[in-house]
Symmetry: C2
Subunit: 321 residues, 2 copies
């Protein structure tokens, strides 16, 4: 099942169900006005939403071509972003001179959650000199998760999967990292692909708490990376257990994988510019690739083995804010 | 003017106006159902709330003794906590071996905002071994702040002041700091004193974007600290400008001062245990004071020069969660 949020004057938009092929949608307002309210009471909402989804598969619904989608959750009460791909982590540790995390311990930070840009919104940022970068990621949306949940138990709290562009400002990141406080200025709002999907939409490409699909990333229309999501060192269920060690997680918590990265990045490319620059520094002694300029575009999408676009596409332009 | 939130089944409670002496309250539901909705449209809400406040000063309203207050914002879309007291920062840098921030740059992290405990709620935490600590702070609540705001402009976006206990787990903090990613496990939910107050309630003890009042902290009924809020290296307006450098801030953003600390901490005491332990390490070569045990209590309050309790009191017990 695919869910999406129609953009309108309401801060949380309006929930709709989208056909599996992404072409048609039906309102879900008879069940839940917003995705947040659906996830607040998922046990009640899901079966009714699935009845609507069945109607869509029978040909009901309006064309998505005329719809304007917001991020599935245009704002969320919590966004925790992991960095679960070790090949990315190792490069970044080389680049920033930071220590690797203790073995068995995922990397994670608390991010800005009061605003998620739509997949096609212009991304306003103040300065090119800040080192504007994209980061292609997968993510999950949980229902309420009690404090102290185990990784095994956490699997059942993964209700929806999403695809995220975690915008980053690389000139500011190391300054903030050195303080140990994590990022504020270096991590503006993320953008999210239009469709949040239930795990069953992925078939056997969802397993071990990982999305076993490549995430294609095009920068200014040119292929930049095509790394696979299966290489996470920690699955999403393990990221949830890490996050919930000393707190409960509210329903609607979004947890990110961190930049999708594979160890054969020299062949397959990268999901962010910083990683390519890190490779250049390792291989050539200095970074050649510049960060984004105002007017640059980035497109990110994931397709099922049959070629079907899973989350819709992120396709954005970065502009002077 | 003092505002508070009555705890009930609704996740955001119900907004009330409280008399300046804290003894009586009147519902504000004719204006705004919740504090979040009031701050979403403060220009509309404030004058009407002040009319209700005038009624309270004329003796109207019910006794607050029978009321159960939640945190003013039981959940918020954004919580950014500074660390603006240099005497605290220097001690922590000594303790954790971290570098001081670059001159002119405030320390700040993005914290858990989906839950703020009430001032009297038991605080559930999983393990004493995590190093349970309190942190007494002041904070502000802003309306919408555009990206790139100057510190001067930011002053007008400070709509309410609050008093916060930023619970911290000190055994986990250095592990997370070393990664540069900031804190997830080391920073569970905060607690907030019941009354959010407009700056005019402070008279001339609100100036330069700082709360010029001592914050008294009692641990298990014994005075632990009484440091003054005026010693912030950066005022709240400067913390807001820092936060809004690369993002807009949503209405209802809470920004914290970090642990209130004065350079004469040996005389005046501390607002967190970690600071006292740091002093002991400096003075005696090792920390003698242990962190909190389950069943321990902490009380925090700020009084105006005339003795009036400003935000109400935080008075909590930490329990096994």
């Amino acid at each position: 099942m695919k869910l999406a949020t129609i953009q309108n004057d309401a801060p949380d938009g309006t929930l709709v169900v989208v056909s599996s092929d992404g072409t048609r949608y039906l309102p879900a307002t008879s069940v839940s006005a917003t995705l947040q309210s659906a996830i607040d009471d998922w046990a009640m909402a899901e079966p009714v939403l699935r009845v609507i989804a069945d109607g869509l598969e029978n040909g009901e619904g309006d064309s998505t071509e005329s719809a304007t989608f917001a991020a599935p959750l245009p704002r969320a009460w919590q966004w925790l972003d992991g960095s679960a791909f070790r090949s990315h982590g190792e490069l970044m540790e080389t680049l920033f001179g930071t220590e690797p995390p203790p073995p068995g311990r995922p990397l994670m930070y608390q991010g800005l959650s009061h605003q998620f840009f739509s997949a096609t919104a212009d991304m306003p940022l103040p300065r090119e000199e800040d080192g504007i970068d994209f980061e292609g990621e997968f993510g999950v949306i949980t229902d309420f998760v009690p404090m102290g949940v185990s990784a095994d138990e956490a699997m059942a709290h993964i209700k929806l999967l999403v695809q995220i562009n975690d915008w980053s400002l690389r000139a500011l990141a190391p300054i903030e990292m050195k303080t140990g406080f994590g990022w504020v200025q270096a991590k503006p709002a993320c953008s999210v692909a239009p469709f949040a999907v239930t795990p069953d939409e992925l078939g056997d490409t969802w397993r071990d708490g990982r999305v076993h699909l490549p995430l294609s990333v095009d920068w200014n229309g040119k292929r930049f990376g095509n790394a696979g999501g299966g290489a996470m060192e920690f699955g999403f269920h393990e990221l949830i257990a890490h996050a919930a060690s000393t707190r409960s997680l509210c329903a609607g918590t979004i947890i990110g994988s961190g930049t999708v990265s594979n160890s054969n990045f020299r062949e397959i490319g990268s999901s962010c510019i910083a990683e390519r620059r890190g490779i250049e520094m390792l291989d050539e002694g200095q970074a050649r690739t510049s960060f984004m300029r105002f007017g640059d575009t980035v497109r990110m999408e994931a397709r099922l083995p049959g070629g079907e676009l899973l989350f819709g596409a992120i396709d954005q332009k970065v502009v002077r804010g």
